[in-house]
Symmetry: C2
Subunit: 336 residues, 2 copies
């Protein structure tokens, strides 16, 4: 039998931990025989949850971690001091090679800091970005960076473009992905100082398919496959996306419940609507990979359901099998 | 009879000019007897359009302007060279006092540059921001700045907060509006360098109701009444908002049309849904005022329909009657 893709999972992280995390892990190993999950967290709690499920025991291990990092804790401090936390222990499993990847729905700050300090950057990578997939009319787009490196420099954005292209081409399967820089207008002279400095550098890159500026308005309709941006702007885009989608769907549902007539109509449209809106469900795409680390770290939403956790784990298979990190190493070293 | 609120309207600006612009202008004067519109643009074209409507002739004047500024033209150049354009002529009418306000759906860049160079800033105002109203679950929120001043400084953001508060309190009627700074996390230590510098300055302001950081995710649900941000991030928020809303509503409609069953359901939910979604219609709120100028400049969407133009014009009445600029002058001078 081939080697497993070994994924450490933070059993204690997220609003729905440990229930949804363990459920999602079981669903992942039941769906894909290539995956082995290491559930990291308080062993007694995990063991008790596990009694609810049937699964192939070879595909699962429990690793005890006494401490839990809270989302409110200052991340650098937490990573340095809580050596027995699920996040720190799992990160060391990736660093040491026991695991290929780590999935967490816990503290974003701690995951980002731990990724940099413990797992460590690929040589030559200046800043590892957080790169979620966001749903579009045409499929998905990769947003790099959405929160890891505020106040980034132009050279960082160029690396984001290259790493993002590798990811979209090899994990998502989009040949020659279109790379756009997030901007406040379509013209080349538009933008802030960072965009104006980065634009010509991206234009010079022969190894990516740079298509120029992309306005936030055109992201949902699929104007680019890889959207390069500084983390503050990327985070605003991502969070606005999620906030508007959730508020609007709530408004649509409320609208359908205002009269008897509309309630009957709602029953009739529901199945068709559910199917169409599936494409706009962020949980379908799993969490956001942090690119450019010596191993894969995936940050799932704090509110992750078992479905999102499952998809975050399954994402690690393609990442390993397509040798994304080897491809990043090669491309970054060519530059330097 | 009391004095009119005199509004210059760019008859030539926007995707639907001059038809929708003139229609919206007529609707505005027919709805509010306090308004007088000065249609600025090519007189023969305007006169011909006007033959379609009946209106009180006292409330309308046509001002000939031979040139039109195209959205693709570099704005500074266009404002300097095209003295006979509708935008430049209308701006001078505001500067000279013939008009209280100017509404345009034309080139955003030209409107912003013209506002600064021709109409001019209120003494003490460092940067005049563009401040659109965005729909929320609770009503509306004001986003300052959404595109006028990229790479702004902390002192600019503090003025945005003050001017935005005055606008929301007096034009929209929200007492003691909650002011939030757009951030990538709720905690005070989160953010980029600009946010970290601005946060304590806003905390010190005794004349605004500062509630701290607001994440983009919480803007649509109405977490703050005034959202202060640097223009690049604000533009990304605004455009993502519009793009997601439009793509999602298109997807909902498409979903309703996939089967006979869902089509029947769609007919039944339509009236109720339309009513609820009205609150999320950007056109309901008119264009974005540029705050801090010696007169009012309102930038309407390039794709403005007659409804948005009408609402942009009517917005000028409250702005003048509530003496917004006098209040801004007073507050800014108190500081200095």
């Amino acid at each position: 039998m081939a080697e497993y893709v070994n994924v450490a999972v933070d059993a204690m992280g997220g609003d729905n931990a440990p229930g949804a995390i363990i459920k999602g892990s079981i669903e992942a190993i039941n769906e894909d025989k290539r995956v082995k999950v290491f559930l990291v967290g308080r062993e007694p709690v995990i063991r008790e949850e596990l009694t609810k499920y049937t699964y192939n025991a070879d595909q699962l291990e429990v690793v005890h971690a006494e401490e839990v990092i809270d989302t409110a804790e200052p991340p650098v401090n937490a990573i340095r001091k809580k050596k027995e936390s699920s996040i720190v222990k799992a990160m060391y499993m990736v660093k040491g090679g026991t695991c290929d990847a780590f999935v967490s729905a816990g503290s974003t700050g701690a995951v980002l800091v731990g990724g940099q300090l413990i797992v460590g950057r690929i040589k030559g990578v200046e800043r590892p970005p957080l790169a979620p997939l966001i749903p579009t009319e045409k499929g998905v787009a990769l947003l790099v960076d959405c929160g890891a490196n505020v106040d980034a420099r132009a050279s960082h954005l160029v690396q984001f473009a290259k790493m993002g292209s590798i990811y979209m081409e090899n994990v998502i399967g989009i040949p020659n992905p279109r790379v756009g820089i997030l901007n406040i207008g379509a013209e080349e002279e538009k933008g802030n100082a960072l965009v104006k400095e980065t634009f010509p550098l991206l234009k010079e890159c022969t190894d990516i398919n740079f298509i120029g500026s992309v306005e936030a308005r055109d992201v949902p309709s699929g104007a680019a496959d890889v959207i390069v941006c500084e983390a503050f702007a990327g985070n605003v885009l991502l969070k606005t996306f999620e906030g508007v989608a959730s508020t609007l769907l709530k408004t649509v549902k409320k609208g359908m419940m205002t009269s008897l007539r509309s309630k009957i109509g709602a029953l009739l449209v529901k199945p068709a609507l559910k199917q169409t809106l599936k494409a706009f469900d962020v949980e379908e795409h799993g969490g956001a990979p942090m690119l450019g680390l010596n191993g894969l770290v995936v940050k799932s939403h704090g509110s992750s359901s078992s479905k999102e956790i499952k998809n975050s784990i399954l994402q690690c298979v393609a990442f390993k099998e397509q040798k994304i990190n080897e491809k990043i190493k090669e491309k970054i070293n060519l530059e330097g």
